[in-house]
């Protein structure tokens, strides 16, 4: 059985370990079956060899402060991985290391078996067309219109005619629910939700294999957040894409995640503790034995409030 699911075995094993910790035979079986079903239901997962992203012992420091400390995980093809954690725990830094915008101080990030930072400029440019990155503030180019923004990756990397490009741009914008007349507007004229959707359309325009979302729902109203979640799901059903979503929105986690990683800020960890404090399915998260995980899921400040009180008391003394 196991050899058939070698691709997803790591994922399965992590669940198994989690359940073994709980010591619950039934849960172990459940997890085994659900994991198996999820893996079997994704043909792309075992059709190609090797994980699409592997993060190996990555350390990133800003000045003297460690932001990421010994991060290790792999993302099999077709999986939607959601990375959660409070602000400042290094989620965005992780995304930027995956795409090669940041070079880790130690360790390496492999994309499809190759280290991005060791590639030549030309090869790196070619590899980057296989990514789609949705930025937190959309990061549309102010000086270009919406149409030019979405067309940008195609103009850079393909020889398609203007007419073909225009058609693709309109199709992509329609997919994210934006009308045709939007292409002549400048980013400043659009609302936050519309800008995010344009950002998504721009990231999708070259049919990427790996989509990276940096806090896709932050700063949006609940309705627009749900629209974005739905778009992430639709993207996955329409294209054979692997996604890594960084968020602190538990609704997003419940709606889109196949697997959840939870990061913890290094400043609050002891030197020996691992920075990834949860790796498993979104459903299991609530039942985690780690109070840091359950508090995050329920949005309870808990110890943090006590710390604040202690600090203010210490000051007044």
């Amino acid at each position: 059985m196991r050899s058939q699911i070698s691709d997803g075995s790591r994922y399965f094993e992590s669940r198994e370990l989690l359940c073994c910790e709980l010591g619950d035979e039934e849960k172990l079986q459940d997890a085994f079956l659900s994991g198996l079903i999820e893996i079997m239901s994704k043909p792309s997962a075992d059709s190609k060899a090797g994980p699409i992203v592997s993060v190996r012992d990555v350390h990133v420091n800003f000045g003297r402060n460690p932001v990421l400390r010994g991060i290790n995980f792999e993302v099999p093809r077709g999986q939607t991985l959601v990375v959660v954690g409070e602000s400042g725990c290094g989620k965005t830094v992780l995304l930027k290391s995956i795409i090669g915008l940041l070079t880790p101080n130690q360790g390496e990030v492999l994309f499809d078996g190759q280290t991005l930072n060791k590639l030549s400029d030309r090869e790196l440019t070619r590899q980057r067309t296989r990514f789609g990155f949705v930025f937190q503030q959309a990061a549309l180019f102010d000086s270009l219109t919406i149409g030019q923004n979405v067309a940008f990756p195609m103009k850079e990397h393909t020889d398609k005619s203007d007419k073909e490009i225009q058609e693709t741009v309109l199709a992509r914008l329609a997919e994210v629910g934006l009308p045709e007349n939007v292409i002549y507007k400048k980013p400043a004229e659009l609302s936050g939700g519309m800008r995010k959707r344009v950002g998504l359309a721009r990231a999708l325009v070259l049919n990427p294999e790996l989509m990276l979302y940096d806090e896709p729902t932050t700063g949006l109203d609940p309705i627009m957040s749900d629209v974005i979640n739905e778009l992430i799901l639709r993207t996955r059903s329409r294209y054979p894409v692997t996604s890594i979503v960084v968020t602190h929105d538990m609704h997003t986690v419940q709606r889109v995640a196949d697997r959840v990683l939870m990061f913890y800020p290094t400043s609050r960890l002891k030197p020996s503790e691992p920075q990834i404090i949860y790796d498993g399915s979104p459903r299991e998260m609530e039942r985690s034995r780690d109070s840091r995980v359950t508090q995050f899921v329920r949005g309870e400040a808990g110890e943090r409030l006590m710390e604040m009180q202690q600090l203010s008391e210490a000051r007044s003394r």
């Binding site: 930027k96 990155f133 000086s143």
Partner: protein, 291 residues
């Protein structure tokens, strides 16, 4: 380190001369290291820009808008300041030359200082103030709002896409702006000397022709090339390394102008030394005939 030693000092409530001296030494050392790092960073940035310049030029759509903002939009202000500096030169030197009965030499003085010195430096200063700080602010905003990261993530090189057009714009257009400043300065100087002060027009031009040669005009334009390159590189580098927030972008814009201006003056000194050496090797018997 500094904050730790400060709190120690507060706690112990005394002044420790040894700590103060070692602290000062380490501060100076830190500043020197920071300075050398920053200089190395600018040089690397310049080399990367030059490397892109030799491999692939940007498309017309990205070149033309930056040429327009750098060249066309700078013309009026360069022309205006040029005119006034020409008139100011006439006002300042008239009394002295009149005392020596050499009023007609005014043409030579004004026009020579314009084409050799004031035209290029003035055009460069205006470009640094008008275009340099705007470029730093624009690129700084792009850095802060992750637009530069977005470019990279889409497989476009930010230096190729953002810096090379601005660099080319400054490099190609600053000699033309210099010519404009020179020309308007000559017009302004002529207007004040001949029309207002009543100096004889024929002798004014005759003296100008005698003392201002092609070498003077072209050496001024050659200098301006170096200024243009420095402005573009410094301003883009400041923008690329902008700190977050409105304050960071504001600082990027002001430091872009200040650093550009300082570098323009330093370059000016050394280029003048070089140009004089070149002149005396080309025309050993000629030298400076004036005065």
């Amino acid at each position: 380190m500094a904050t730790a030693s400060n709190t120690d000092r507060v706690r112990r409530g005394g002044f420790h001369p040894i700590e103060a001296v070692t602290g000062a030494i380490s501060d100076v050392g830190g500043a020197v290291v920071d300075w050398i790092t920053a200089l190395g960073d600018v040089i690397l940035f310049a080399l990367r820009t030059l490397a892109w310049l030799t491999t692939r030029l940007p498309r017309k759509e990205t070149l033309l808008p930056s040429f327009y903002t750098i060249g066309v939009e700078s013309l009026p202000v360069v022309a205006l300041t040029g005119t006034f500096i020409g008139m100011v030169l006439a006002v300042q030197s008239y009394d002295t030359f009149r005392f020596l009965n050499l009023e007609t030499r005014l043409g030579a003085v004004i026009n020579l200082s314009l084409v050799r010195e004031l035209g290029p430096v003035l055009a460069a200063t205006m470009l640094a103030g008008r275009v340099g700080s705007a470029m730093a602010a624009e690129l700084g905003t792009m850095r802060v709002t992750e637009q530069i990261d977005a470019l990279t993530s889409m497989g476009a090189n930010p230096i190729h896409y953002l810096v090379v057009p601005r660099f080319l714009g400054c490099l190609i257009l600053i000699p033309m702006l210099t010519v404009m400043a020179d020309f308007m300065g000559v017009v302004g100087g002529y207007f004040y000397s001949v029309i207002i002060l009543g100096i004889d027009s024929h002798h004014y031009w005759d003296n100008s022709k005698k003392f201002v040669g092609n070498f003077d005009v072209f050496s001024g334009m050659a200098k301006s090339l170096a200024f243009g390159a420095a402005i573009a590189l410094i301003s883009c580098h400041r923008g690329f390394n902008s700190r977050p927030g409105a304050e960071g972008v504001g600082r990027a814009a002001t430091t872009a102008f200040v650093y550009s201006f300082v570098v323009i003056l330093i370059l000016d000194l050394f280029l003048n030394i070089g140009i004089n050496a070149l002149y005396s090797t080309l025309w050993p018997e000629g030298g400076q005939q004036f005065i």
